[in-house]
């Protein structure tokens, strides 16, 4: 099941790229979620042993999934509010 842990590591890299390279703010929220689930997959798959996954990482991951949704909801609220004020979804610092 190492293949899942490796996939998790690659997902972290992919999400990290999107988080930095994407200029659209909502796209960054999506990328942030990919980083998050990549970390979870790595963490969980590393706890896999003889057909079962360690329950402690499992519980922490469930906690993490809920916290990731709370963070995303707050981020989405900020992105939408920012778009209403500025008329765009790019931060001033990122404007070309």
């Amino acid at each position: 099941m190492t293949v899942y842990a490796v996939t998790g590591a690659l997902l972290v890299a992919l999400g990290l790229y999107g988080l930095i390279a994407a200029r659209g703010l909502l796209r960054r929220v999506v990328a942030f979620n990919v980083v998050g689930s990549g970390v979870f997959l790595m963490f969980g798959a590393l706890g896999w042993y003889e057909g079962h996954t360690d329950p402690v990482p499992q519980a922490l991951i469930i906690t993490g999934i809920v916290v990731a949704l709370s963070a995303s909801a707050l981020a989405v609220g900020l992105v939408v509010a920012h778009a209403r004020v500025s008329g765009g979804q790019v931060l001033e610092d990122d404007a070309p």
Binding site: L10, L11, A22, N33, G44, I61, L78, V80, A83, G88
Partner: protein, 307 residues
């Protein structure tokens, strides 16, 4: 079955790529939902059905609704995504380096049973039979208590973003649907079934996959559906009963945690009472989680007027 795992991992990476760097924001969000469902399948393969349920319901389901709603709101605000088709090579190199280091770290770790035997040993004293629920609500109850507070904090953080400062108005935009349409019909049919499934998931969580978070999410989804189908108006935050529903779960958790001090320490549940205490916390926490998640996904008030 190694072929299946490899194919699944490839699909996961491709869906993630389309979500992170594919063209079109709407497409990207749809691929993110697909990605979430595939990740849930991966959790099933890893023998972690509790996480699979949480990922499918929260990671793919509610996050998907949240992001799709945001796509609609952004395009109505005229804020389209800037086009970026070029690959940012320095960033790609840096992210690739981080990925390579993580892969190296993964491969250099020796597999082991971890904390599973320790949890199995103490499981009879925790009051529940599902080891994941035992960790969530007994052994690492601290994390779960603080998590329920984090949820509440995120929701409170959303309210100041209400349109026109009317934070006490009904949550989210006003939804309209044809009164005799398919959405209204299914919106009436689905909630009773969702209620049954949600409560079942909480109850079953004591001895098999399920729990307060998965059950609460199903209930939240039913609530969001009722609002989106135009069947009920979202509650306004001035209503004391809704506020009570938000804080009841963390409040009871905290109170029983303090009661645990009579038995030796904060959040220590005596074996004889553990099952009852955990079940009470889970039932009330489910209600709070459901209301908090639903209000979070509906978003800050957009001037629809309170109920």
């Amino acid at each position: 079955m190694a072929v299946f795992d490899l194919a699944l991992c490839t699909l996961i990476l491709l869906a993630a790529l389309a979500a992170v760097a594919g063209p079109g924001l709407f497409r990207a969000v749809v691929f993110f939902v697909v990605y979430g469902v595939l990740i849930a399948l991966a959790w099933v393969r890893l023998g972690a059905p509790d996480v699979a349920l949480a990922e499918a319901a929260i990671g793919a389901g509610l996050t998907g609704v949240l992001l799709l709603g945001a796509v609609g709101r952004l395009s109505r605000a005229g804020a389209d995504e800037p086009l970026t088709s070029r690959i940012d090579w320095p960033v790609a190199l840096a992210a690739g380096l981080v990925g390579a280091m993580l892969v190296w770290a993964v491969l250099s770790l020796a597999p082991g049973p971890g904390l599973a035997p320790a949890v199995a040993e103490i499981l009879p004293q925790t009051g529940v039979e599902n080891p994941v629920t035992a960790v969530l609500l007994n052994l690492r109850a601290w994390d779960t208590l603080l998590e329920s507070v984090v949820l509440l904090a995120a929701l409170i953080g959303l309210w100041p973003l209400a349109r026109g400062g009317a934070w006490q108005a009904a949550a989210g935009p006003v939804h309209h649907a044809l009164p005799d349409g398919v959405l209204a019909g299914f919106g009436r049919l689905l909630p009773p079934v969702a209620l049954l499934v949600g409560v079942y998931l909480v109850w079953a969580g004591a001895y098999q996959p399920g729990g307060a978070f998965q059950g609460g999410t199903v209930l939240a989804a039913a609530g969001v559906l009722c609002v989106m189908a135009g069947l009920v108006r979202a509650p306004g935050m001035a209503a004391p009963l809704w506020r009570l529903a938000l804080v009841a779960g963390p409040g009871l958790f905290l109170a029983l945690g303090v009661a645990g001090m009579a038995f030796g320490g904060f959040l220590l549940f005596p074996t004889a009472l553990a099952k009852g205490m955990i079940l009470a916390i889970e039932m009330v926490l489910t209600l709070s989680i459901a209301v908090t998640l639903a209000l979070m996904v509906l978003g800050p008030p957009e001037g629809g007027g309170a109920q």
